[in-house]
Amino acid sequence: MKPFAALALSLLALAQPAASQTHLVIVSGLGGDQAHREKFHRWAMTLIDAARQRFAVPEANITYLAEKESLDFESITARSTKENVQGTLAELAAGLEPGEGVLILLIGHGSYQGDRSLFSLPGPDMSAADFAIVLDQFTAQRVVLVNTTSASGDFVKELSAPGRTIITATKSPFERNETVFCQYFVQAFAEDVADVDKDERVSVLEAFNYARLELRRAYESDDRILTEHAQLDDNGDGEGSAEPDPSVADGALARQFVLEGADAATAVATADPQLAELLSRQRVLQQAVADLRGRKESIDPEVYGQELEGLLLELARVSRAIREREKGVEPR
């Protein structure tokens, strides 16, 4: 078996914890009737509660615009008019540090009129072009926009840009049936169902994959034809992927984007130098695994397998040592 200590040391210098505090903006559009208003509010609150309670996103980082503020005066920041949406996002863009992340979730109904997709709001609707103007103000931040409405497919093409993740519930503006993508997308953050890489965080990619798979299963279970085909684009090419794979096209940014507060971003800080070293080694190994996986297709499978097993074994040992150290047990 190859020793991995040397490798860990050599990679140590690469380990840089990301300053990744995130902001959440939820816009719930026109419901059309009370049942839809309540459903949209329920979905919005599912994500807000998860952000608050599971991922420690500060209250100040959460903005919720809805059709009727009377639904929940405490949580709803303002009415979801076009003016408020534009103003909120412009203000946020002006106040964010470079590298910070913002997740914008659009809930409601969409339509395709003439040659453009629209997000239905009280008062004037917003088109992808309208959103393009406000998103362009986030010049140095990581932005994720998730349009969960029907006929939203056009948003990918219109809003795609480097450093930006765009998700739509449909693959084209012609999928006009009511969507349920949002239900599964927010559930991914709210329940222990989507963290497939077991890092105790839910990335946008994990949430997207959870939503699309569960959505398909639900349609199949009900013997219905799937009428919404969600897309994700984060490589800026304007082409969404139904099954994003970072090694092929989309997914690399979405995989790194998680909801987290400032505490989580700085959680590696510790007064215990041994623990700090272990945590540092853990990050190095995690990164090494990620790098190796990224190169999988270009490596001889046997070499890949050997290197992967070595890294994973070492990572397992270090992770166990961290847990024991944290419990006050001398690492084995």
């Binding site: 994959n209 499978p301 397998g305 992967l308 097993e309 397992a316």
Partner: protein, 891 residues
């Protein structure tokens, strides 16, 4: 494919001429009336009126032609011939009736006489163009194809000259172009145009309309064919050829009613040879060779040179194993037309209907050798090569067929299917090759292979016969794909089919949960593969179906069709077909449920034979069929009784076996009560008739629905005791299980579901409920058994496999636990890392360290920080380092 020649009928050109004349002779009024009677189907009136005119006006060619046409339409060919000859004798210088005479002579099989008559008419008569067409057609049907085609080509020139053609002449042009379209399908449109012009020229003439219907039929436009024939029948309700056309349409489109409609045609024209031949073909499909031969004999009495009748006769002889008879009929056809590929197409089709796929390939091969433009032959060749597993050759021949005739739905559908099939994933076990949709193969191959191998071993041991391997099994998630694979068209109601070396079936995902049990279906089809192997594909349809259901029942508790009230009521009402005619129950069901009843009935026949004579007798019967014996002679030689005698024995068996349920259903069978009754009526009937199963079950069910389960128990228990074999989804077992469970009687509830699932193979919910009950009763083995049976109904749910994996692991049944963990992975769970970890865990617990290591590494590759997986990896390496692991291999 039928050639157009068989539809040739006397011309009615005179009608147009009469209408065109500015003056009318005295007899014209009567001719008009006679023509009206003829066109509205009052053939006897028409004959009487035409006869009167021809007696008074012996030189009236119009009246004589009308008389001949009317006599022909009702099959009085000899009288028609005499009428035509009488005119010619009375008018020795006229050839006006020569064409009509030629057509009658042709219908009677006098080809030489017909040709002489057509030649006379083609020189001088007013219907000479029609005569020239008939002459060319006769050349074509005699094998002088090139010469005939040159003659047909000239009709295009006639048309293009643009001279005002009469309706009959347009019909002749259309007929000629229709012949040319057999080689060049694009000309069919031109034929249709000419027919339409003929119809426009004389809208009352039904003749071109019949030809149009036949053209639609040839071009696979079954909807338009049906519409056309129906329109003719509205004007002339008994029109024999329209009825026959409709019957053919029904057959081609897979609609019911073909046999009866053809019989109606024969009621009007008992000498309609094409209808007799059609009936004979249907009877051959039912393997009723005797009746088919009677029909053919009657057809050949009318026309001993009918190529179609002789071809079907050859098929009947071949299927009967009568080599000399077959050779004689074959020789006769080829003497009449040495290039008649239709002979071998007919033989191939007959072989397909009786499951002789290899023979069908041979005959279709001969058809295309004889006639390289027989696109139907190429289609038959391609499809049957695919049925026998020769996929590549099959595709090549289908592509040839498609080039020649791109509208043949059998060809196009099958080629489309091949495009789908190439995307399937192929997997293999020792004796089976499986082709499955890529999205399902991972899951289904875990179960199909194991079950298929088990079935092979079981059947091989029972029958003392080893079916040829590998057997190819194709599993279709889209039922219509399966349907096309089976019959070339969509809409087949079956679940699976065995061609012998190839089995095709619906995937469990092709249907709603509870619609069928894929496990029993696979077993059933594999049983057919054995039956066909033992009998050299000569086992009668009903027998192999019955024996396959019988085998299902022996494979697993609950599998196979079961008795239900509908079957016994049908028996009591005399609606079951006797065993001696059981094929009719499959091929020509008299009521919608009859096919299902026939499957069950046939399985009971096999059970009775086994009970009375032993299982080996069933094998001996298969061997007898393989030796070419009919069902009648096989029963006589093996069971020492004729099949009619067996009918009586079987009747006694039913009476004995179902004595109780039959008594409990007798009042239902004889009752005219409406099916929907008021609550009071149900209660009253239940009180008055404690021994009536339906009354007791209805009352029990009603009380359950009313939320009075405690009161329902007595009625349901009574219903159960009256008909304990009934375990349908609405059976007393189901209701009682739910009631007992609600009352806390878990053991009793489980017992009820044990009974239900031991009979009913498709009730998924009952098995899930039973598993839950068994687990609550700490019977994990029972719970696992119930869930395992549920997998054979619907294996697509992740939760089912998660539960099974857990139960099998708890029982230390590691092989099964591993399979279930693999099933979870195959269902593409969102949390693949967890699924891989669980697979690794069960490998580890099973002591398979190497596979555990590989699986846990796959888990960690997806989720490097997965703590449980990290711990397992460390545990595995600790085991390896201490020398307790298997040899380590790399990913």
């Amino acid at each position: 494919m039928s050639s157009p020649q068989q539809y040739i009928r006397p011309a009615t050109v005179w009608l147009f001429l009469v209408l065109s004349l500015p003056w009318q002779p005295l007899h014209a009024q009567t001719v008009t009336e006679a023509r009206t009677a003829f066109r509205s189907g009052r053939y006897n009136d028409a004959i009487a009126m035409f006869s009167r005119v021809t007696r008074r006006q012996t030189s009236s060619a119009e009246a004589a032609r009308g008389l001949v046409a009317a006599l022909v339409e009702v099959g009085r060919y000899e009288d028609a011939q005499q009428a035509a000859q009488r005119f010619s004798r009375g008018n020795p210088n006229s050839a006006e009736l020569a064409n009509a005479l030629g057509e009658v002579l042709y219908l009677r099989g006098d080809r030489e006489g017909a040709e002489d008559a057509f030649r006379r008419a083609s020189g001088a008569a007013s219907d000479s163009l029609l005569a020239r067409y008939n002459l060319a057609a006769q050349h074509y049907e005699s094998g002088a194809i090139e010469a005939a085609r040159r003659e047909f080509d000239r009709f295009i020139d006639v048309y293009n000259r643009g001279e005002g053609l009469t309706a009959a002449e347009l019909r002749a042009v259309a007929g000629a172009v229709r012949y040319l379209s057999l080689q060049d399908w694009q000309l069919a449109q031109d034929a249709l145009r000419a027919y339409d012009e003929a119809i426009a020229a004389d809208p009352g003439d039904l003749e071109p309309q019949v030809w149009v219907g036949e053209l639609f039929l040839e071009r696979y436009r079954f909807d338009l064919a049906e519409e056309t024939f129906a329109a003719i029948l509205e004007q002339s309700p008994g029109h024999p050829r329209a009825l026959l056309g409709l019957a053919r349409t029904f057959k081609s489109a897979g609609m019911p009613g073909a046999f009866d409609t053809a019989e109606r045609a024969l009621e009007v024209n008992p000498n309609l040879v094409a209808a007799r031949v059609f009936l004979a073909q249907l009877l051959l499909e039912s393997e009723d060779y005797q009746r088919a031969l009677v029909e053919l004999e009657r057809a050949l009495d009318v026309n001993p040179t009918s190529l179609e009748a002789l071809s079907v006769l050859a098929a009947a002889r071949f299927l009967q194993g009568d080599e000399a008879g077959f050779a004689a009929a074959e020789r006769q056809v080829l003497q009449l037309n040495p290039r008649y590929g239709g002979l071998y197409n007919t033989l191939a089709e007959a072989c397909v209907r009786t499951r002789l796929y290899a023979e069908a390939v041979e005959f279709a091969q001969r058809a295309v050798e004889l006639d390289p433009t027989s696109w139907r032959g190429f289609t038959l060749l391609g499809i049957n090569q695919m049925r026998t597993g020769r996929m590549r050759a099959g595709r090549e021949n289908l592509e040839t067929a498609f080039e020649g005739d791109p509208h043949d739905p059998w060809t196009k559908n099958t080629l489309d299917l091949l495009d789908t099939l190439v995307q399937y994933t192929e997997t293999s076990t020792e004796r089976f090759n499986f082709a499955m949709d890529a999205g399902e193969a991972g899951l289904l191959s875990l179960y199909f292979g194991e079950l298929a191998e088990e079935a092979y071993d079981s059947l091989a041991a029972k029958y003392g016969f080893r079916a040829a391997t590998p057997v190819r099994v194709e599993v279709f998630p889209n039922h219509e794909d399966f349907s096309v694979r089976t019959v070339g068209l969509t809409g087949l109601g079956a679940l699976g089919v065995s061609f012998g070396p190839v089995v095709a079936m619906d995937s469990p995902s092709a249907r709603e949960t509870g619609d069928f049990n894929w496990g029993s279906t696979l077993w059933h089809e594999l049983a057919h593969t054995f039956h066909m192997g033992i009998s050299d594909h000569r086992v009668p349809r009903w027998f192999t179906e019955g024996l396959a259901v019988y085998e299902e029942r022996r494979a697993r508790p609950g599998w196979g069709d079961d008795v239900n009230p509908g079957f016994l009521v049908a028996y009591l009402q005399g609606r079951l077909v006797p065993v001696s005619k059981l094929n009719d129950g499959f091929m020509r069901p008299a009521y919608p449920e009859q096919i299902g009843h026939s499957y069950y009935q046939a399985s009971l026949v096999c059970e009775l034979i086994e009970r009375e004579h032993g299982f080996q007798t069933l094998v001996e019967l298969l061997e007898e069929f393989g030796a070419g014996r009919s069902i009648t002679s096989a029963f006589e030689s093996v069971l020492a009784m004729d099949i009619e005698e067996f009918d009586t024995v079987f009747d006694d068996y039913l009476q004995e076996r179902f004595a109780g349920p039959l008594a409990a259903l007798r009042s239902t069978a004889s009752s005219d009560d409406p099916p929907h009754r008021s609550r009071e009526e149900i209660a009253d009937r239940a009180r008055r008739q404690p021994d009536d199963f339906v009354a007791q079950l209805a009352m029990g069910t009603l009380l359950v629905e009313q939320g009075r389960p405690h009161e329902a128990i007595g009625y349901l228990e009574q219903a159960k005791s009256l008909f304990p074999e009934y375990a349908g989804d609405d059976s007393p077992y189901w209701h009682l299980a739910r009631i007992y469970k609600e009352q806390g009687g878990l053991e009793r509830a489980a017992a009820e579901l044990d009974h239900l699932t031991a009979i009913n193979e498709r009730n998924y919910a009952a098995r899930m409920e039973l598993a839950e009950l068994r687990e609550a009763l700490n019977d994990r083995r029972g719970a696992a058994a119930a869930l395992q049976q549920a997998v054979y109904i619907d294996p697509m749910g992740i939760d089912l496999h998660l539960k099974l994996a857990e139960l099998y692991a708890g029982l230390s049944e590691w092989t099964r636990a591993i399979r279930e963990r693999k099933a979870v992975l195959a269902l593409n769970p969102v949390d693949r890392a967890e699924a891989q970890y669980q697979l690794a865990r069960v490998y580890f617990d099973a002591g398979d360290i190497e596979n555990a290591r590989r699986a846990v590494l796959r888990a960690l590759e997806d989720a490097p920080n997965f703590q449980k997986a990290q711990d397992l990896l460390l545990e595995i390496h600790s085991r390896i380092e201490t020398g307790n692991g298997n040899q380590v291999r790399r990913l």
